[in-house]
Chain length 210, copies 4
DNA sequence: CATGAATGAGGGTTCATTCAT
DNA sequence: GATGAATGAACCCTCATTCAT
């Protein structure tokens, strides 16, 4: 693996374990076995590393989402569930990021802009998915205000389920993630036309988190 | 005002504005106009300040909640809405705390225990409220698993609406808080028996946030 | 007991346990249950406390020595043994002082002078005792140079036996103190005329150290 | 000279002059002309410096002792005298260490263990030397208890002669060191078989202390 | 690409001491 | 005699960052 990638991956791991403030650039360099100077050859500063991680996050998320879109009908229940699972896996993989999001964004306007752009794209996708669902009859019709709140509710659950678990002192595992899916379904189900959501099997999640 | 209270209040303000890591104990002391030594006369260390803030938070939340319970029927829609508004105000007042929650809890086991205890109490209250609602007929009957997910959904929205706004780059104001109420209603409404929730007027929120 | 004496006694105890640098004036005040201001009403500063302890030490040592002189013939073996035991008890009671002696003296010229004066008095007493012993025939005759070395040897053992134990990682107790007496006898015996020193019974030491 | 060595040497010098507590890490750094950060690049903390000094002490003492063993017959009077002179030189070179020994050991369990190990080795060597002396007839026969006291007496004088001088307010110089040798001889001589110890010329000491 | 010694500002914290009450 | 809040210098140590090699 290239040094640059080693830095990014090691940084992600250490940030997840200890938080960005507790992990110094020298810690990262030591963990990889390179010199502090070398780290600064590849990145201008610590923020630069975090921004690079964000770029990776972005690409990773998009890629995974494309896979889902290729497999499942947009607006279908399956697509929604798979997306939720994917987002949880994503949130777990980069969990330091969401945990410290506000602080990170406060200190780095560039990152702030990048993040908001991505976040808005995701919300747009959700709204588009809802529109698809309404169009194909799987979701009940609703006006724009209702649609906005519905999208917010879904995105809120997807975004913060992991934080909700952490904050509640619960481990992140197959079972607690399935519970997240149940919560999402609690929000979704009343707005679906008829088809009853199958119980999540959790298998998709299972092999992802280890 | 006593020095101890000045320290707590100034710390809250600076933590909210810049985050706990960016605010040094000397910053706090300077902001108040006292010596660094004096700050350490009143608190053993930085964590001690944060714990003292948490104690204040706890008391503040309980007090506000009592006021609501004295005014509104537990399990009623009004009580829920008022509680939601109250929680948002609370979250805003101590917004650094929720933003950095995981990191704070990671570094201070004492705080971790305190927080989990409070958090579980809140969840218990929500479940109790749901039971009241079911008992008095305002909420549809549901089994225990459904009830668990329903409570999680409600608590998730209440806990993280502010973070959702911050993360989305939206200001916290009367309008965005009302939207939070709308999202909560999106989740609640389908599980209510008949009575349609009135649109939130937002007046209660209005004078609270300035 | 008067506050001033409480301060001195508590300071001795804490200094013995933790060393003078680790024990702050506030620690002393807290340990007694008085305010820091009150401590500074009784003593001008920390050094002043240490000097007061030294004065107490001096009086204590003199007093104990007088008791021995009243009971035993100066220059007799019994007087020497009793004196040795007394000095060990004294060194133990104020053990922080000998441990940190050089450092304390370095930082306080006043204390330095006081200590040297006392120390010289003790050496004079030893030389006088030797003279007595030679005069009454219990100690072999020797020239002045030999007498000087002999006095140094005796005083060295008496002064540093406790430090020798501490440095060697040995506890200070009845047994190790008796060993100190044996070492002293190893130095003394060859210079005595005929009378064989009785084995130390240790009883005198026993009830002193608890 | 390498920075690491500069730190060690400067630390020894300053510690000797002012004591370990009075000398801050910043003092050391300033004295060398390096930044505080650089000092902490080479040593984890202040204790680490002291431990490094101890390691140097150990090596230095062993090396010097080997030289003596190669030149003089073990158990011979010459070897003892040379060793005594060497130990005084050693104690002077690292005089802060013996002065503060108990305090240093109290605060650093690692150092404690290291020191005790070295100290026991030295005592073992002395006992071995006595055995050699008895075996080759230069030291009178004695039982084990006597041997133990004899070894303690010798080691006590060797260890604390310098402290005895400091505590007595005497300078450390050629003359006072020779007096130390005289004291040692006062203890030794009665236990030697016949050969009379020559007066120490002190020449070996002379060129060592400047 | 990479090293690693070096920088220096700043962080949390302690403590001898003061002083108004 | 006594209180206790307050001071401020100093301490140990960290860390993002630089730069000669």
């Amino acid at each position: 693996m290239k040094t640059r990638d080693k830095i990014i991956n090691t940084a992600i791991q250490l940030f997840n374990e200890q938080g960005t403030k507790a992990v110094s650039t020298n810690h990262i360099a030591t963990a990889i076995g390179i010199s502090p100077g070398n780290l600064y050859y590849h990145f201008r500063n610590k923020e630069d590393i975090i921004r690079a991680i964000f770029v990776q996050m972005d690409e990773y998320g998009l890629e995974k989402y494309q896979i889902i879109l290729n497999k499942y009908q947009p607006g279908s229940i399956e697509a929604m569930e798979q997306t939720f699972i994917m987002i949880q896996e994503y949130n777990w993989r980069y969990r330091f990021f969401k945990r410290e999001l506000t602080a990170l964004i406060m200190n780095d306007p560039l990152l702030k802009e990048c993040f908001h752009s991505t976040n808005n794209q995701m919300l747009d996708m959700i709204r588009y998915t809802i529109d698809c669902g309404i169009a194909n009859g799987s979701i009940k019709a609703m006006n724009d205000i209702e649609k906005g709140s519905f999208a917010d509710a879904i995105w809120l659950v997807a975004l913060f389920w992991l934080n909700y678990l952490e904050v509640g002192g619960e481990e992140v595992n197959e079972y607690t993630l399935r519970r997240g899916n149940d919560v999402l379904r609690t929000v979704l189900q009343p707005y679906l036309t008829g088809e009853i959501l199958k119980n999540s099997t959790g298998t998709a999640v299972l092999h992802v988190f280890n």
